[in-house]
């Protein structure tokens, strides 16, 4: 049985109740805890021993129901899956806040309806072609290799940690967020679904390409779903299916071509590839500002030293299989 000394840990917990008319504040609670105690256990001890009015969502306490996502020392985490010891060692206290990007209802409880709405918006159920019904009375046949493409996707417990951590969600409320896009991936690659192309087409404008590729969703995911990698997969599939039709995808393809050509970016060419000649006009003020600070952008770009090696990397990647082998 893992034992160990008890630590005296101060918790600063965000408190806000719209019913009592007070402003948000932090309440300090101090507990004696073993280092491997989950943060959720600590919060439940606060509820049962110190202050029962603390509001939070929780149910399974084993990281499978997705109820207890919150900010632990500013990071989106599941309270049940975060041990107090390492948090205390790193920060000297444990600060608990409600998740970001969603309005607070009370204390640590947020209104998740924006998150659920994005999930509903990707049409999260199989879309079938009436001309090709499921096999009568028996399961669809699917090889282990086919299943391998998406059998990890049900790991997602819809806790909302990724949505809370995502800066694109904060900047652009129209962005579906990592969870919805990872869920979309699940339906796009499902061999039973007949609307994959349509799904890719519909998600592109304003959806897919707003992702900043910061990978905060992946680092905050408590179940290793890796939403940013699924978003990358969707981008690749979208380009493969339709070519570079969106501003975002044109930028990505232009970027790749620039590097392939000379090993570095040719900004004026990249802007032309992304926005087209007409679109470039809108970028003139930005271009002039850049010119003032960095006059060398007018010079014709030359290939970098070792460009042949860059070429070789591209060739290897072209030869490699989809899985990168």
């Amino acid at each position: 049985m893992p034992t160990g000394e008890l630590l005296t840990i101060p918790f600063d917990v965000y408190r806000y109740d719209p019913a009592d008319g007070s402003t948000p504040r932090y309440a300090r609670y101090t507990l004696e805890l073993a280092p491997h105690t989950p943060v959720l256990t600590a919060l439940l001890r606060i509820r049962s021993e110190i202050d029962p009015s603390l509001a939070l969502r929780y149910s399974c306490r084993s990281a499978i129901c997705g109820s207890c996502a919150m900010l632990v020392n500013s990071k989106s985490r599941l309270a049940c899956q975060t041990q107090v010891g390492p948090e205390f060692a790193e920060h000297g206290r444990i600060v608990i806040d409600p998740m970001s990007n969603q309005p607070v209802i009370r204390d640590l409880v947020v209104d998740q309806s924006p998150f659920w709405k994005e999930y509903e918006r990707i049409v999260p159920h199989l879309i079938l072609d009436p001309m090709h019904p499921m096999p009568e009375g028996r399961p669809t046949s699917m090889s282990p290799a086919q299943v391998a493409r998406f059998e990890e996707t049900p790991r997602c417990i819809a806790c909302g940690s990724c949505y809370s951590a995502c800066p694109a969600v904060a900047a652009d409320p129209a962005f579906p967020g990592p969870m919805a896009l990872a869920k979309l991936y699940r339906f796009v690659v499902d061999p039973r679904d007949t609307a994959s192309q349509d799904r890719l087409m519909r998600i592109q404008p304003g959806g897919l390409w707003t992702c900043l590729r910061c990978h905060l969703c992946t680092s905050s995911c408590p179940k290793d779903v890796r939403p940013s990698e699924r978003i990358r997969d969707l981008k690749e599939m979208a380009i493969a299916a339709q070519g570079a039709t969106e501003r975002g995808s044109r930028h990505a393809v232009g970027f790749k071509d620039n590097i392939a050509e000379r090993g570095l970016l040719n900004e004026s060419k990249l802007v032309r590839q992304t926005d087209g000649i007409v679109g470039m006009i809108g970028q003139i003020p930005q271009g002039l500002r850049m010119l003032r600070r960095k006059p060398e952008i007018l010079r014709a770009p030359h290939a970098i030293e070792g460009q042949d090696e860059v070429q070789r990397i591209y060739e290897l990647l072209e030869d490699a299989g989809e899985d990168g082998t």
Partner: protein, 557 residues
């Protein structure tokens, strides 16, 4: 007031399957849940769902295994129906989008589970419940069903013997409201939180079972409480039976693989009650590790197999106990896991109250009898959730005009406001902790008349105390203390039924093990316990077990 033809309480697999069936029959359907549907406890089921789909397997063997597993207390007609439906239900879930693990030939993969004659448990890695829950919820999105989230069930409203609907409490706003419906399905899951070492979620508080019981519904076989052999000693988190299915072994403090003594043929894969009692006996007789536990070892399976086939278990051990199962044994003890008992239903989900239906773990058909087999509970939620939905949809149009009245809502409101106004008296969470202490100490794996009688006395005292229950928070916004109070009162009433049934049943059968009556007594006890509500404590009566073809035999694994 909200109105529906069919109202389902609980949005786990049973509730959602009932809602789907009722909506497909063209009824207006509402589902009320105290969580979000995707946060339901069905999602925690790891191992799998039984269905005889393999070439060598047969529905007949599945029936036999379930009858034997139930220690001959399961109703054989219901079990026959249940096992016959299994392949159909699993195929349906596959068509709804469940991502099951596959065999090389593209068919559904199956793994061996305790008490089963063949590898019969279909699975999705070790998160089968979650995969099913997601697929069903997503499929439900393609039909017209209204979901009411974060509403706690407070009362079932009857007028005469007619169901009118329910009164519920909205966590977010503190509002109490009526939901009118002539047909109501209770699918509120288990009540394991009457124990402290339980694999159940914090939400598993028997809301529907207690509310139905107080309204006059019969409860069946409540004394049969299954203890899962392998719960992490820290906080009772479940380590799936799949761990033993994949080859995990149990060792006592002396390093002995002790299961060979208790189940010489199948060792660790014996039925759950057998394994739980074996572990408990080892510890009781001084062969456990200091502190009272045994080891589950996976190390010999190798890193690759452990991490691919038992990924969730790896995460659990690492995150909640600070243990790496690839290199270290897992310290475990049996913990409360499953309630065989529940609201008494027939195989259409009907109860003794016309218009009230129940399904899933909240119900008792009875399929599991005295002991449930692994992989049969997920199946039960879907098979009987569907039946309850079909029956409720057929019943609803025959009784128009169901209506919850403002005075029904007011009665509930007065009770809650009364508890909020109190300045003296016990608060819900400490009271619940007292209840859990009683159940752990006196109503465990092994039972005796002495302990059970003591438990009844302690529960009676607790009940008196609970009359002064106080809600220590005046807020109307997400006031969890209201929920805590409702749940704690539910658990106390249900605990009393568990103990009364256990004390009366003077035999040992399945999960009910009496030290003072160690033998199964078919002559006197081959019958279901039926409990009905009286304010002073449950009234017990008995009902016959349905037999078709299987004569009771001694259960040997």
């Amino acid at each position: 007031m909200r109105k529906h033809d069919v109202l389902v309480i609980g949005a786990g697999l049973a509730g959602q399957r009932a809602a789907l069936a009722a909506a497909q029959a063209g009824r207006s359907v509402g589902i009320l849940t105290k969580l979000h549907p995707l946060r339901s406890h069905s999602g925690a089921a790891q191992g799998g769902i039984n269905a005889a789909v393999g070439a060598q397997d047969s529905v007949e063997t599945h029936i036999y295994d379930t009858v034997k597993g139930s220690d001959y207390l399961g109703d054989q007609d219901a079990i026959e129906f249940f096992c016959t439906e299994a392949p159909k239900i699993v195929v349906e879930m596959e068509h709804f989008g469940t991502i099951f693990s596959r065999a090389e030939d593209g068919s559904l993969a199956a793994r061996p589970f305790g008490g089963a004659g063949f590898p019969r448990t279909i699975y999705a890695a070790d998160r089968t419940g979650l995969a099913l829950l997601q697929a069903l919820y997503e499929h439900l999105g393609s039909v017209d069903v209204t979901v009411y989230e974060e509403w706690d069930l407070v009362d079932l409203v009857l007028r005469g013997s007619r169901v009118q609907g329910v009164v519920a409490y909205h966590r977010r706003t503190g509002e109490l409201d009526g939901f009118s419906a002539p047909a109501v399905v209770f699918a509120t899951g288990p009540f394991g939180r009457m124990y402290s070492r339980t694999t159940n979620s914090h939400s598993s508080t028997g809301d529907g079972v207690a509310v139905a019981y107080r309204a006059g519904a019969w409860l069946k076989d409540m004394e049969f409480v299954q203890f899962h052999p392998t719960a992490l000693i820290e906080d009772g988190i479940l380590i799936t039976e799949g761990a033993r299915g994949e080859g995990g072994i149990l060792k006592n403090g002396r390093g002995e693989r002790f299961m060979s003594k208790y189940a010489p043929h199948v060792h660790e894969l014996a039925s759950r009650d057998v394994v739980s009692r074996a572990i408990y006996t080892e510890v009781l007789e001084g062969r456990g590790f200091p502190g009272g536990y045994v080891h589950l070892e996976l190390m010999h399976l190798g890193k690759e197999k452990i991490e691919s086939r038992l990924q969730e278990i790896c995460d659990f051990c690492r995150n909640f106990a600070g243990i790496d199962p690839v290199t270290e044994p897992i310290p475990i003890m049996p913990g409360q896991h499953y309630m065989m008992g529940g609201i008494s239903t027939n195989l259409r989900g009907e109860t003794n109250i016309a218009g009230l239906y129940a399904a899933g773990e909240a119900a008792c058909v009875s399929i599991h009898g005295a002991n449930r087999l692994g992989g049969n509970s997920l199946l039960e939620t879907l098979v009987f959730g569907k039946q309850a939905g079909i029956a409720a949809a057929a019943f609803a149009p025959t009784v128009p005009g169901a209506e919850v009245l403002p005075e029904d809502v007011r009665a509930a409101k007065d009770r809650i406001e009364g508890m909020k106004r109190r300045t003296e008296g016990p608060t819900p969470l400490p009271l619940r902790a007292e209840l859990q202490k009683i159940m752990e100490e006196d109503v465990g794996i092994y039972r005796t008349a002495e302990e059970l009688t003591r438990a009844l006395g302690r529960l009676a005292e607790l009940k008196v105390k609970s009359r002064d229950l106080r809600i220590p928070d005046p807020s109307h916004v997400f006031n969890l203390n209201v929920t805590d109070a409702l749940e704690t009162l539910h658990l106390i009433d249900l605990a009393e039924v568990v103990v009364a049934g256990a004390l009366a049943r003077t035999e040992s059968r399945g999960a009910h093990a009496r030290r003072d009556y160690p033998k199964r007594d078919d002559a006197n006890w081959m019958k279901h316990t039926i409990a009905s509500y009286r304010p002073e404590g449950p009234q017990l009566s008995y009902a016959p077990v349905a037999y078709t073809r299987w004569e009771p035999k001694e259960r040997v694994y």
